[in-house]
């Protein structure tokens, strides 16, 4: 790596930061500091703007760097991630987006608590939302660290740490000053940059192979060292049945997790109506689908052009495949084209991380202030402004995410996101679906559904090979590995649903028919929606 790459990438990234800080200042010039403004950006975004912002929230560094890297290393098995990530949007579109927009105000808890005794339900869903957000944040932080390691030659641990800290500090500034409006505009800018960069790289890869996708695949298979096996499932998740169940578990978590992600749910409140929420999801599906199709080309392209060994040599988890590919496509390490393209891709990846981190931080600070603080604060205590609490919470969450991000540095980013999805699918999705569609659902059912999914999911991760027992674990020195799968979804998602059902049928509470009628009528018609 020459100094040129580094300077240019940092320069481009600096431009992005300057622009986004400008946006933040601009949109907060005459803010009223109302909750409506801070959490939902005044609810006045158009479907297209929100569609780009959703896509921006969703197309994280995990997709851009992680999935392409997995495809470059394991071929077809990496592609399974993109399929799951995309199909998940049908769950969001069909079952969640419009109904949540109609019933809720700012967070998941608003939707559930409308039917139930408010306090326990808010505390439960607030806790699970914060857990999911922190896990997701860690993945993004790891992505930032990896990227800077590549940029600075991979040696400087201090630089890596400082990047993670710097990203955290910037996101706190965005969120606490600009709220949802600034965060949304940052997502939109980032989305356009990311899609532009991906299109450019995809075109270059296809040009390299004269538009012949078939030859691209054949070359990739050949240079991967795996032959035809590279183009079929099984390289990563084949072999013993543990690995196969692990994959099924992951597949389930991916498809069911998206609908439970707090930062995705909070995006539906930034548009005025359910119809606008639906149209923004349609936009998002188009953008996200196109993006994942292109990451497939990039992943196989990295394998074909660089070879899997070179990718693995740079970063064992494959996270650096795309920047390396850009370097090669531009003309190699010593050419101007290579330098520019590499710097561009690195800057886009940074921007991606920053934007996603801002989005998640915002939604989790909403959970802390709107759900947890509002429910837990002592009665009679001076009621502080909720928005002020949210700003402080953003700082606290930033600190936690930075600390964990430094710890989890060597895990694959896409894999970490898989964990966040598993927790979201286990803890948030059952309670959300039950309260939207089940007439007899009760408060106890809601609380049990959340904890019955959240606790198994977290405990199973702690007992899994991710944390201990193998050389790749977070704590390789100790061994408390009792659960064989890396992803807990296969067990914890059904547990969440069963716990919600069990809590409901065992509770003495008579379900409130009028409240259910209200939820159902409001969710399908939008009556009384804010």
């Amino acid at each position: 790596m020459t100094v040129d790459h580094q300077t240019l990438a940092l320069l481009l990234f600096g431009v992005f930061v300057a622009i986004t800080l400008g946006i933040t200042t601009w949109v907060s010039r005459n803010r009223h500091g109302s909750a409506e403004e801070f959490y939902a950006g005044g609810r006045l975004f158009t479907p297209m703007e929100n569609g780009f912002a959703i896509a921006g929230d969703y197309m994280s560094a995990a997709s851009f760097l992680g999935i392409s890297g997995l495809i470059a290393l394991f071929g077809y098995d990496g592609l399974l991630y993109s399929v799951g990530f995309l199909v998940a949007w049908l769950v969001v579109l069909f079952l969640v987006a419009e109904l949540v927009r109609n019933c809720g105000r700012f967070t998941l808890a608003d939707v559930v608590a409308a039917r139930m005794r408010e306090r326990p339900v808010r505390i439960a869903t607030g806790t699970s939302s914060v857990t999911v957000s922190v896990l997701y944040l860690v993945a993004q932080m790891v992505g930032a660290g990896t990227l800077v390691a590549l940029l600075l030659g991979g040696r400087s641990e201090a630089a890596q740490a400082w990047t993670v800290i710097g990203v955290g500090a910037l996101m706190v500034i965005y969120v606490s000053l600009g709220g949802m409006r600034a965060t949304t505009w940052i997502q939109i800018v980032k989305s356009v940059l990311l899609l532009g960069g991906t299109v450019a790289l995809t075109v270059l890869v296809l040009l390299r192979f004269h538009g012949d996708f078939d030859r691209l695949l054949l070359t990739a298979a050949e240079r991967s060292g795996h032959g035809d096996a590279f183009l079929a499932p099984g390289l990563k998740y084949g072999g013993d049945w543990t690995a196969r169940f692990d994959f099924i578990s992951l597949g389930l978590a991916l498809v069911l997790g998206t609908a439970g992600l707090p930062h995705i749910l909070s995006r539906f409140f930034t548009v005025p109506t359910a119809r606008a929420a639906r149209r923004s999801v349609v936009w998002a599906i188009g953008l996200i689908g196109g993006f994942y199709l292109m990451t497939i080309v990039l992943g196989f392209g990295a394998a074909a052009i660089l070879g899997s060994e070179a990718v693995r040599g740079s970063n064992a988890a494959g996270n650096t495949a795309v920047p390396l590919l850009a370097l090669d496509l531009g003309g190699g390490a010593d050419s101007t084209g290579g330098t520019v393209l590499f710097a561009l891709v690195a800057a886009i990846a940074f921007a991606t991380i920053l934007a996603v981190v801002a989005g998640i931080t915002l939604s989790s600070s909403a959970s802390v202030a709107h759900d947890l603080y509002a429910s837990l604060r002592r009665r009679g205590a001076e009621p502080r402004s909720e928005v002020a609490v949210a700003r402080v919470a953003a700082v606290g969450i930033g600190v936690v995410a930075i600390a964990l991000g430094l710890l989890a540095r060597d895990l694959n980013v896409a894999f970490l996101v898989g964990l966040a999805f598993a927790v979201a699918a286990s803890a948030n999705l059952p309670v959300l679906l039950y309260s939207l569609f089940w007439r007899d659902f009760t408060t106890r059912g809601a609380v049990w559904a959340v904890y019955g999914g959240l606790i198994p999911a977290v405990v199973l991760v702690l007992l899994s090979p991710v944390v201990s027992g193998s050389p790749d674990s977070l704590f390789p020195g100790v061994d408390f590995e009792y659960f064989p799968l890396q992803n807990p979804g296969l067990v914890s998602i059904p547990l969440g649903f069963v716990a919600g059902w069990l809590g409901t049928v065992t509770s003495a509470e008579v379900p409130d028919e009028a409240k259910h009628a209200e939820t159902e009528v409001r969710s399908l018609t939008g009556a009384g929606a804010v």
């Binding site: 769950v91 030859r215 183009l231 084949g238 119809r275 639906r278 009028a514 009628a517």
Partner: protein, 157 residues
């Protein structure tokens, strides 16, 4: 394209039969028969229950469910079948179709295609079959809840 964000049109433009509306207009007296002697206005909860039982709402709900239930069943089983096939039958998935393209590649791209198609179908169905009726119901319900004693409309607290 009609705007769903605007104010409701006058009643004359309603495209669907609206039998529940009359029932509501004449129904409040009966509701109070067992209650206090002076007629208390209905609460918001009563309004929502009444709307929920109305034919117009049941029609919107069943249109929604008639599309969503089969669609969810189809795409979830198609996705689970794909995942299970990828893990349990890699031999089948590796079978070549044309050139380097094998069954697995076709199935993966098929998932993308089916997602796009279902998205389009859902958006179209909602726009043509649900949006207008739901909007009418929304304004009517809000009109009714406005005159109630109970909680404020929308539970805005």
């Amino acid at each position: 394209m009609h705007s769903s964000d605007g104010r409701p049109r006058e009643a004359g433009s309603a495209r669907f039969d609206d039998p529940w509306y009359d029932a509501l207009a004449s129904g409040w007296g009966e509701l109070d028969d067992t209650g206090a002697p002076e007629a208390t206005p209905p609460t918001a909860g009563d309004v929502y229950l009444e709307v929920q039982r109305s034919a117009a709402f049941r029609e919107v709900r069943s249109r929604y469910r008639r599309f969503v239930v089969p669609a969810v069943a189809v795409f979830l089983s198609w996705y689970v079948a794909y995942v299970v096939a990828a893990t349990a039958a890699p031999g089948l998935m590796a079978r070549p179709v044309a050139g380097a393209v094998n069954v697995a590649m076709i199935a993966g791209l098929g998932q993308f295609l089916s997602t796009f198609l279902l998205t389009w179908a859902y958006a179209r169905h909602a726009r043509l079959r649900r949006d207008r009726a739901a909007l009418e119901l929304r304004w009517d319900t809000q009109e009714l809840t406005r005159v109630t004693q109970g909680r404020p409309v929308g539970g805005a607290s």
